[in-house]
Amino acid sequence: MGKYGNVIDCDFPNESERMSLETKQVRNVAWLARLAITEDAEAGYAEDMTTILALAAQLQAVDTAALEPLAHPLELVTPRRADRVLEADRRADFQRHAPLTQDGYYLVPKFVE
């Protein structure tokens, strides 16, 4: 586990604390989102996110028990097509944009011991 791994255990605030995010929770969310944020920016994010979540808390005022969630505006049916290969292999094209490749693979730092 790298230097960001140690914050994964920290808890979210419970119901009563929800409205005010602390820097500890910001660190945890940032870790879940795999975002490095500097220590001196944490307080600013905590404040902004608290304000945004206070806005989102307005939703709780409405009883929605009778409403089904709507994930998509048109409730489309996913179209189907025949299982045929339509596109040519363009691996070399796509890998041209990669920061680091070797023998057709993407190179990343070692992460399995």
Binding site: Y4, L35, P69, V108
Partner: protein, 487 residues
Amino acid sequence: MLEHSLTELAQLLRTRELSSAELVQSCLERAERGHAALNCFISICPDQALAQARAADRLLAAGQGGPLTGVPIAHKDIFCTSGIKTSCGSKMLDNFIAPYQATAVARLAAAGTVMIGKTNMDEFAMGSSSETSYYGPVRNPWDPERVPGGSSGGSACAVSAGIVPCATATDTGGSIRQPAALCGVTGLKPTYGRVSRYGMIAYASSLDQGGPIARSAADAALLLTAMSGFDPSDATSTEAPVEDYQETLTDGIKGLKIGLPKEYFTPDLEQPVAAAVSAALQTLEQAGATVVEIELPHTHLSIPVYYVIASAECSSNLSRYDGVRFGHRCADPVDINDLFCRSRGEGFGAEVKRRIMIGTYVLSAGYYDAYYLKAQRLRRLLRDELRAALEQVDVIVTPTSPTTAFPLGARTQDPVAMYLSDIYTVSVNLAGLPAVSVPAGFSNGLPIGMQIIGNYFQEAKLLNVAHQYQQLSDWHTQTPAGWRQGA
């Protein structure tokens, strides 16, 4: 060039009174000047543009080509363009040259348009002022100390300043309509699924939709006809037939029933904006329309519903930027998590990080039901209210934005104040409806926009109403000082 509509330009090109190469050359010169003064482009591509213009001229000389052959266009830098950088306004994609073309871009290219450049925008389309771009803020041609709106601020700015006659844009919560309003141009957000999203970099997939920005509804109609249609590469694109949106522009609007939602006229609405919309409604009434008051009682919830859903979808969509296959990678990563975290931490700006973190939060265990599912339930309520209203009336008219263009920097420190810029536009995205913003007046020299919302796939009706209004008004023909013909 400025005084000509797209239809007139196409006519001049067809009769060979003007060559596409001349027209494109003058746009490129104006683009350099516009870019220096207003920062409205991320890339300008003179070599490719002139080559395309010469090809268009050859077609036109042979008596071939359609109504858009040889016409210059700018594309929002969210649309993938093969061979030309597509940054989406982000450091993350500052080095990204897409290996394929967005369908909307490909369709407009097939119709003969000539791309002169890629327009500046809020990073990953997250913003209402075009200030979050990695490439610096875009300025409003009506007052360079003010924002052009966002996120398609570069496209609206370039059309407003007469650099290009038209541009593409995208709209997730108002990003076509609000900058169109703040820059005094016409912007149409089509029905969700009308324009393919293939190759359009995703922010919130259930809300994103591409559309045109132009100087008039008639010009927007021409573009929409070329951009629209089913695309097998986008599972959410619709098979609903594409109309010729120019055909019905001249229909009369006698008997048109306009709904006016009383909830939209709140104290937050600037008085000159309210007055301009009222005056525009009188004009439409004189042309034979009737105006009735309607109710959309949960409008006040649209902003929180939108920001929960859009942020959730953004946190999921933007997880693909990991520094592995393309985009920014941090230097000397010590392990895989360090690579992910630092590449993303360095590649994304503050607003994108805020939305990713809010999205991650509302999707996390313990909060999913309270925020995300709750917002989705209320999304249904908001959609059903709009649907019910559109059973009583043909179109709904509202202001596009509660204010005119605000000063640069005025809302950057307060994310919620920035979000409230979209109060009149986000419901339309949540419902997937089409809407157009048209210029409807000025306040202290700054443009005011009026929004017209229609039922699903009724873009032709919206453009008809907008065109009829533009036959009776001249707001859309105004050009900012310093950008007028000969200036």
